[in-house]
Symmetry: C2
């Protein structure tokens, strides 16, 4: 085997090749003159002249431009390429160090990574932002203008994808050997436009790779074959093995995205797969004149990774989506297996070297795929393979919404992945020694329980329940906030809790990276905190509990003034942004009230806009003198609706049209205005969040698993108005209930209320006259064509699944309390300081350490 | 307009932006600190430490590799990227200088550019090859091993495409402002494989861009819309104008390939267009679940440039090919027009600033497209527009083969390009003031003549004759060798010669670049020549007539020995290559006889293989003692057949199977062996050509327009056996008939012989018993399944369009004369020296100067 290694020494280049060592264990220089190499090698550039030369060099060569025709975008490209070079140097050292040390690794499998922009984040993490700023200034550019040239990497829908991005940041910062695995969608989440005519959402493709992506590294030598369709032929030896052959073969090609840690050389890897045809062009068909046929194979292969499904919290069962899931898990597992095999350890130790986190059920096929590899290819016995699998995987559930629980039709899986269908049947069926038989043994005769726990749901067609499969195949299962993790146990998997015992089920409350969500998006606040705590910023940014040190300054008037001034500046930055975007002036003396998140009935943007209308009607009724006493307020909305989500799109249309009316109403528009900012994105969030006085997190109790934007607002000193749901609860626990504006019914009430709505409905007019008035105003055509909104209003009037009628009055009262509290500005600033000070728990560093220690059992390795 | 320029100053960046000037005409520094910029800017690296650092830097960053996992391919990539940086620096200076000086420019429109490898050529042209060699050695690599890692850029079929590549090299070397325009095919000419079973040709796609292409520069900011289909609505004002709208719009995106001149900073541009969908992904269809529809548009747009048509000298009339032609000419003209408009000259001066060379009829639509732009968009009056057009274009005809003369069906053009069809009708029809009416005036009543000269050929469907259109729309027309240019006048366009007078028709005999085809591929000979001439090599490489200086050394025995030694080394290099490729030893004492070119009946590889069989049969009949007196010979073939060209593919199969038999015949294989080297390419030519003793250029007289490989062999001191055809004639004029082995019937005989074959056939047995015996041997199954070859043999036995039966005996006699001449080795070496010495005329520098001076009227501009 040392011979095998020698043979591999000069061989091209999957990540993780490392030098031969001599007798003393010192690395031998592989080829050429060591001194020549070392003299010519570069490290990370941190000095101004090096950085300037590097930027200018990229202008001249990579961009082939001259100073004469360099614009901000060109300057961005050159700066990005220059920073990229530094990232690669660290990335290389990190991968080499991990290969040498061969630690247990963790892999984060996520169909979504909502990365946002990279340039600023990378410069901050490398500690070179000021020097790059200086270099750019000297060259005639401004850092801010350059930074905003970057297009967001928007490979995600919302919270789940952004969480994955924060976790990667924390894993590098915590120096943990963690890789992400995802798909390199050619088109990320759609670009949202607002129809000028009727205010409705329009969707345009997001060709984010159009101008090349400096943050990825195509690894042309890392490719795997992935099979679809074909036939699976079982061995007749009772081993459970089979041969899968025929069908379509597609190539998975790796693109690596460098994930720099903050204040460390450690730079983890996010590997994204692109699908490619295996055999390029079909020349025979082409020559035979059948051009369509000639490109067909090539098209259908490339199609797999061409677009991100734009649905959040819903599952549709489309074949292409299943192809994406299998393509991604198969390529990722093949890659992990290759890396593991380089260690030359027995296959039985696989789980000692690999932990795989399943981000929701999307990658659940990985469980089946690993079984396939172990049983069919590695010839591991079935039970031993199942032992390895169930020690390798960990599963995070992200929602209790039934429409989000993935199910795949059995005929579809059978057709696309015949071998995997066999394995699934074996897991639940006769060959399965470990699961169903033992269930049977434990609960003899409880056929209902067996049916509930089964992987296959009866029906036409039968369906595979991916969540059950994920639970069965994983070592641990967790939810993403305390309440949610309880609901996971009590609502979704009670039978499994019964069967496995509660210790298989845990909680890791979500978190956010304070680097992006404070230092980067709110430099003013970051500076103020550093100066106040008298700690270098890399200390508190890596140990966010240090923020508690702010508490002792809460009564210091100078500090309060500075705190308020930072908020004011951020509001002015937002106002400028809105002015540039929409051409309207925003009053920064007003309270900024923000709700930004995916449009979804359960998130209840509808409640918010109905509340706005209520406020508008109240203002209209007042005399000018009365109005003068009202708290001025600007309400911001942003968020995308899934293109097929009719009700959510109607809500957007209502918001936009309400804004058009009230913003131009001279009676009221000094006191209330409203903006829907199109195309919500990470970068937009970075402008909005630091500018909020209050933000809204008003999901029906028991529906929002955690939420993370709530944490971001609080970290930036914005207060919350919210329901007792998700992480709002834990935020309140930290900051104290008096610093949060809670309202609405609690989770245990909801089921009863829904029952009542259906079986003993009470008219809105009775339940909430205020709400009824608002609904009637919309129905009267005050905001345009009345008939348009009826389907939306009817969801409130009839059935009211999300209990708006029950919560409306309490909501309005909560907003009144907000107004009152805001009137005492000093007290408000103190609330704001206390809120930020208590956000230590919500650093994603804490989360990733939870996973590392309680789940994956991986350890930090500092790269030097 | 100085204000317009100011407004443009900081605007992104089409090639050719240039600095504002102050009152004194000095360029103003555009932005930032001039000193900071200038200190950080780099020039071409020529020193070892810079070059080493640059290579190592690319290893670390661009490749993200360490010395530990760097193989030859990685070293190639790093060296290539490093050289690329230098090319870009010069390319940038060149484009800037041309923009400033605003000279008349020439554009070479070619559907094919057969570039081959670039690394070595670029290093030689930059004069840095030795230093790069040293750097690579220090880093543990060898330059030769690194160079051969590069994949050929094979965007061409053969001679026409390689000629285009040589012309670009010469245009840069001659410091002429010339750009090439072509298509960036995703798949170049297919890769040729030989079926192990039956010896037939197999075709595989050539995914040449798979590992990224360091020699191109994506110019993401240079894109144009190209329209297809739709409707054309004429104005009713009699202006001839129309509006073309609707249909499909596709994007043309530019990729620039840097073309370095030899020993000059001048680096011209080859701009290749890639087709892209205009609107990316159709999200609506995607969400509606219609995935197929969603990708359809995107696929059909990308398809346009996805593959090079693999046919040489044939035209098929496929819609996709027409789309390629229009896409390419439309994008190229839009680009030229934009560049011209930057000059702010009146449109009437277009032809004073632009000359466009049409490489064969493929870009003929450019004539119509320029009319469309001028008339419809620039609102130039029809006659004035036609005046501009006919002063702008120049047309090179490349063949007299009727199957190669392009015709496009009128319904197809009408459908795809409705506006262009109108314009074509206007050129020939009622609106045309300049052409048909004047023809009518000149030859009143000669309707036959009118029909022959018409652009539209009657029939079902009607067809547009692109060659006629090219002649009518061009200022001058030329052929590519003296004989061919005569045939162009007498056979193809006699009516047009009559009409326009002979001065519209000229000749530019093809040429080749001595940089690639001597200095690069034959460094031994290059060194010997430099030492012998006592001239720096950049002198004779730029003035190839200097080679005549070798004549005075022809009788010097030491020089003769050195000359022979170089040839011997090149033969050994080829032998090593063959041994590595096929695992067979090649006897370098034998005469090397080479025929390498596209497989085509007119090129008569069949004659050659039948001659080989004849030699084999003769050897078989001999006693061992007799055989010992025979000249030992190794015959090499290489070349691709169009995938649909049945007879040509049979010839390959015959060659391969004859080789299998005779190479293992112990009676004869010491005296005669035969190799078919698969996948002929520029790089393979570079190994074969310097190793030839004799090469074969044996086309039926009057069929090969010029040939260029004949020149390459002669430049490398190989002698020719050939017919009195194409450039063979001019080669013989230069080197003297006694240094060329001519055979066969002359061009004027051919028509009569063909007539005879059809109307008074003489059996082969009578005409050439030797040939009859060879044919019968093949028919007898001596080289495998007899029935397979019958269709091929029948082309000789019946009809014999290419007059093999007439030329066979004379061919065999010529080969005998070659044997005799080769027996006197000293005399042979002298012939070889004299041949090389007389190749001055065939430098493509001479050709490009011919075009520049006699056709385009463009002048050299040295960039400093
Ligand atoms: C672009 C984007 N989408 C979605 C989210 C998640 O928002 P929430 O936690 O409110 O669902 C965030 C978090 O800030 C985000 O930045
Ligand atoms: C790859 C390739 N194809 C075709 C040709 C043209 O060959 P010929 O002039 O023999 O047709 C050449 C010239 O050397 C070549 O290099």
């Amino acid at each position: 085997s040392s011979q095998a290694r020698r043979a591999r020494r000069h061989v091209r280049s999957l990540t993780g090749d490392f030098p031969e060592v001599d007798e003393k264990g010192e690395p031998k220089w592989p080829k050429g003159d060591e001194k020549v190499w070392k003299d010519a090698m570069r490290g990370v550039h941190t000095e101004l002249p090096d950085i300037t030369r590097s930027i200018v060099g990229h202008v001249q060569t990579s961009l082939a431009r001259a100073p004469y025709n360099l614009d901000d975008f060109g300057a961005y490209q050159a700066a990005a390429l220059s920073v990229r070079d530094n990232l690669i140097v660290n990335w290389n050292s990190t991968q080499l160090a991990f290969s040498r040390k061969a630690p247990k690794r963790a892999y984060y499998l996520s169909l979504e990574f909502l990365m946002g922009r990279t340039l600023s984040n990378a410069m901050l993490n490398l500690g070179v932002q000021p020097t790059y700023g200086e270099a750019l200034t000297n060259l005639g550019f401004s850092l801010e203008d350059v930074i905003v040239q970057e297009r967001d990497a928007a490979l995600g829908n919302g919270g789940l994808g952004r969480l994955a991005a924060c976790y990667l940041d924390s894993s590098s910062t915590q120096e943990l050997p963690v890789w992400g695995y995802g798909l390199r969608y050619k088109y990320g989440i759609f670009k949202q436009l607002i129809n000028n005519e009727d205010g409705s959402q329009l969707e345009a493709p997001d060709p984010w790779l159009e101008y090349q992506n400096p943050w990825e590294l195509p690894r042309l030598d890392v490719v795997y074959d992935v099979r679809f369709y074909g036939t699976a032929q079982r061995y007749t030896d009772g081993s459970g093995r089979a041969v899968w052959s025929g069908g379509q073969e597609v190539l998975a090609a790796a693109y690596d995205v460098m994930i720099p840690g903050y204040g460390t050389k450690n730079t983890n890897n996010l590997r994204l797969w692109e699908s490619k045809p295996k055999r390029g062009f079909d020349l025979q068909s082409f020559n035979a004149g059948d051009y369509e046929r000639a490109v067909e194979t090539s098209t259908s292969a490339a199609a797999i990774t061409s677009v991100l499904y734009p649905n959040d919290h819903t599952s549709f069962g489309k074949e292409l989506r299943l192809k994406q899931q299998y393509f991604w898990t198969a390529a990722s597992l093949a890659d992990m297996m290759r890396r593991f095999k380089n260690l030359e350890k027995p296959i039985s130790e696989f789980a000692e070297y690999n932990a795989i986190q399943l981000n929701d059920t999307h990658p659940t096929l990985a469980i089946v795929e690993l079984m396939r590899i172990l049983v069919d290819e590695e010839e591991v016995a079935w039970d031993a393979a199942w032992e390895i699998v169930t020690n390798t995987f960990f599963f995070t559930n992200h929602t209790v919404l039934p429409e989000a629980l993935e199910k795949w039709s059995v005929p579809l899986v059978e057709h696309l992945l015949p071998r995997h269908m066999q394995i699934i049947y074996d897991i639940v069926g006769p060959l399965n020694m470990l699961f169903l038989q033992s269930v049977e043994k434990k609960y003899p005769g409880d056929t209902k329980k067996l049916a509930r726990m089964s992987l296959v749901e009866e029906g036409f067609p039968k369906q595979i329940r991916m969540a059950n499969l994920a639970v069965i195949g994983s070592r641990k299962v967790n939810g993403v906030a305390e309440l949610h993790s309880e609901l996971v146990k009590s609502q979704i998997f009670p039978d499994f809790v019964d069967f496995y015992g509660p210790s298989k089920f845990g909680n890791v409350t979500n978190g956010i990276t304070p680097r992006r969500w404070l230092d980067q998006c709110n430099p003013g606040l970051s500076d103020l905190i550093t100066n106040t705590l008298k700690l270098p910023k890399d200390v508190w940014l890596k140990d966010l509990f240090k923020l508690e040190g702010l508490i002792q300054h809460v009564d210091n008037p100078l500090f309060q003034r500075r705190w308020a001034a930072v908020k004011r500046q951020n509001k002015e930055r937002l106002a400028l942004f809105v002015e540039r975007l929409l051409g309207v002036k925003v009053d920064t003396d007003a309270m900024f009230d923000i709700q930004i998140k995916r449009l979804h009935e359960y998130k209840r943007q509808t409640l918010n806009i109905l509340g706005v209308i209520h406020r508008y009607l109240a203002l209209k009724k007042m005399t000018p003198a009365e109005r003068k006493k009202v708290q001025k307020k600007v309400v911001f909305f942003a968020g995308k609706a899934a293109p097929g989500y009719y009700i959510a799109k109607l809500t957007i249309r209502l918001i936009v049209n309400v804004a058009r009316i009230i913003n131009k109403d001279p009676d009221t528009n000094a006191y209330l205005s409203l903006f829907f900012l199109p195309d919500y994105s990470v970068s937009l969030a970075e402008v909005l969040i630091p500018a909020s006085d209050i933000s809204q997190h008003i999901s029906t109790a028991g529906t929002e698993a955690s939420g993370t934007s709530n944490m971001k607002f609080c970290l930036n000193g914005g207060l919350l108005v919210g329901t007792v749901d998700g992480a709002n609860i834990e935020i309140a626990e930290e900051v104290g209930e008096d610093n949060v504006f809670f309202f609405g019914h609690l989770t245990p009430d909801v089921e009863g209320l829904r029952y009542q709505h259906v079986y003993h409905p009470i008219p809105v007019e009775e339940k909430s006259p205020a709400l009824a008035l608002v609904l009637d105003t919309v129905s009267s055509g005050a905001f345009g064509d009345e008939s348009v909104y009826e389907p939306l209003l009817n969801t409130v009037r009839h059935g009211d699944f999300y209990i708006l009628t029950d919560d409306f009055d309490s909501y309005i009262r909560a907003l009144e309390m907000v107004d009152e509290a805001y009137a005492d500005r000093t007290e408000w600033v103190k609330k704001s300081i206390r809120t930020t000070a208590k956000m230590g728990k919500f650093s994603s560093d804490r989360c990733i350490q939870d996973y590392a220690q309680e789940y994956w059992n991986v350890e930090s390795i500092k790269v030097d």
